[in-house]
């Protein structure tokens, strides 16, 4: 069963909302088990393996990341960070019955204590339609200033 463009767009908005509201268990459930969340270090990077990336996380790493955020001895999350995504209407670059590729521009704000920073980014989602339901097969997040020096980026842009 194919999905509509509107369903795709709603899905992407809902995903951003889950991250902003810290609904990480629901967010993890969106993913296919062999998915990867990739955040390149270099502008227009093509290879996640033989050069360094900021993130290239499998489901084990994503689960670890989520569980760590709520740990009793997660010192860098005392107090906790908060984040906020402002997203532009996604481009749907590819759409078949079981695969959708989208590109979405976002502004991402993360804050903790008196610090706050803004990242401009483009998220490319590779979505799969499994039993009529959209799932995240892979996600690539390109930060506009990926080659700049950052302090801690603790949540998920």
């Amino acid at each position: 069963m194919a999905v509509s463009k509107e369903q795709v767009i709603d899905f992407l908005y809902e995903e951003a909302r889950m991250l902003d509201e810290g609904r990480y268990d629901e967010w993890l459930a969106l993913w296919l088990e062999d998915g990867h969340y990739w955040m390149p270090l270099d502008y227009k990077q093509t290879d996640p393996h033989l050069v360094t990336s900021l993130l290239y996380e499998d489901m084990f790493m994503l689960r670890l990341r989520v569980e760590r955020l709520n740990g009793a001895r997660t010192f860098s999350q005392k107090p906790k960070s908060r984040c906020h995504h402002v997203i532009q209407r996604p481009f749907i670059d590819e759409m078949t019955d079981n695969r959708v590729v989208t590109s979405t521009s976002m502004h991402y704000v993360e804050t903790r204590l008196d610090e706050q920073f803004l990242l401009a980014l483009t998220a490319v989602h590779e979505l799969a339609v499994v039993d009529g339901v959209l799932r995240i097969a892979n996600k690539r997040v390109d930060i506009l200033n990926c080659d700049a020096a950052f302090g801690n980026i603790q949540l998920l842009p």
Partner: protein, 436 residues
């Protein structure tokens, strides 16, 4: 104005005064003395592999260019036009061809820094220009050494020689390079760049601080072990388990791994074993190394599992991981950490893939392990402002006066390497200072 005795008084042996981390005046003196007198890492030769290739960085607070000259040698020049001071190179790297040309007034220089041409040169006739400092061109640093691909420089024209400064500590670079079947490393992509609001020395000290991983990193390493157990201990282990879980090793593991110190502030953890000892074998690698060196030598190379080697003042390398971290001071409370990785030329890609994974999992601004380290440093930088106590304790396993001119191997939880760094710190701070 601080004198030699003022600087010497900041390090008593068991304690170091907080001013070394917080004082803008001490920081300025570090830039003027310590970073001028010591041999400081610049870059890897593969970052400038062809003639005219250059890359820009800094030694302490001094902007410099590493460049491959037409004679094939690597030069390190101050990145400043001798005319008005404009930085000659502003890109992080590139190829300048046969000469540098200042973008402001088109003064040009050979890639060894010598002045090549000035437009409308007759304007300098009979001005005495040829006798001026500017006529010499771009200033080279005091001394440069390319050791097995790693380029180091001493800013001061005179001072300790390279071999004396590093001595037997070069065995850690040797081991990293020997791991390549061709005896050669190549840089693999740009470095991670991670900004820390703390003093650079906190980062250097943490490299041989073996009593913090199981505490500060419990949230990542401990949680990884917990999740893996909940999954029913699946094999092969997820990559995160191989890389992150060893941080949760017990104190006894770190005590037994040993710490070696060398003169002039260098030292390493992981004398007998380390958190890198139990990585799974990469198919084809051992065979390639045996073919290059013979089996006995190949085993000898791979049996070294040195964890972190600190090259005083401000880098750390990991031989088994082919990683180098450069702790670049930007202010008394600001440090840029650049984490580079290298390809072992002639080794399978899978090895480099693990190296890249280690770099992002442990040393990225997005790393769960990095997050807790940075939190500790920044809390320390703020806590040190407290007037309740002025001294920092580095006394662990110090049972009497220590002679840092000797190489020693001790219990892996000693803070001797931190004391060794401060001994060298005093030495290279004061060697060019007025007595009183």
């Amino acid at each position: 104005m601080r004198t030699v005795s003022d600087i010497t008084a900041l390090f008593t042996g068991p304690q170091v005064h907080r001013d070394v981390y917080t004082s803008p005046e001490i920081y300025r003196l570090e830039m003027e003395h310590l970073f001028a007198n010591a041999w400081v890492f610049v870059g890897h030769e593969s970052q400038t592999s062809k003639k005219g290739d250059y890359f820009t960085t800094q030694i302490g607070d001094q902007p410099v260019i590493q460049v491959r000259h037409s004679d094939g040698e690597i030069y390190v020049l101050f990145n400043r036009c001798p005319h008005k001071g404009t930085k000659i190179a502003i890109d992080r790297d590139g190829n300048t061809g046969k000469f540098f040309r200042c973008p402001y007034h088109a003064w040009s220089f050979k890639t060894n820094g010598c002045l090549l041409a000035i437009p409308l040169k007759k304007g300098y006739e009979e001005t005495g220009f040829s006798e001026s400092e500017s006529a010499k061109g771009m200033t080279p640093v005091g001394a440069v050494k390319n050791y097995r691909g790693f380029v180091f420089a001493r800013l001061a024209p005179d001072g300790i020689e390279f071999d004396e400064f590093f001595g037997d500590s070069l065995s850690s670079i040797d081991n990293m390079v020997d791991r390549s079947p061709e005896g050669r490393l190549e840089i693999a992509g740009p470095p991670l760049r991670y900004m820390h609001k703390c003093n650079w020395k906190m980062l250097v000290e943490n490299q041989t601080d073996t009593c913090h991983p199981m505490v500060a990193h419990e949230s990542s390493a401990g949680t990884a072990v917990k999740i893996w157990k909940e999954m029913g201990n699946p094999e092969p282990r997820p990559p995160a388990m191989e890389i992150i879980a060893p941080f949760m090793s017990p104190y006894e593991f770190f005590e037994k791994m040993g710490i070696r110190t060398w003169p002039n502030g260098h030292g390493h953890t992981g004398v007998h074993h380390s958190i890198h000892s139990d990585y799974s074998a990469v198919p084809g690698y051992f065979e390639a190394l045996c073919e290059a060196h013979g089996e006995e030598r190949a085993r000898e190379i791979l049996d070294e599992n040195r964890h972190n080697t600190v090259y005083f003042p401000n880098i750390m390398i990991k031989g088994p991981i082919q990683q180098l971290r450069n702790f670049i001071p930007l202010g008394p409370d600001k440090t840029l950490v650049e984490s580079y990785i290298y390809r072992l030329v002639g080794a399978p890609d899978q090895l480099l893939s693990r190296t890249a994974m280690y770099n992002r999992m442990i040393n990225a601004p997005t790393s769960m392990v990095g997050h807790d380290d940075l939190e500790m440093y920044e809390r320390a930088q703020e806590g040190l402002m407290s007037n309740g106590m002025e001294w920092v304790n580095i006394q662990r396993l110090r049972t009497g006066e220590e002679d840092f001119s000797e190489e020693t191997v001790e219990n892996g939880t000693t803070e001797r390497q931190m004391r060794n760094q401060f001994d060298a710190w005093v030495k290279f701070m004061t060697v060019s200072m007025e007595e009183a």
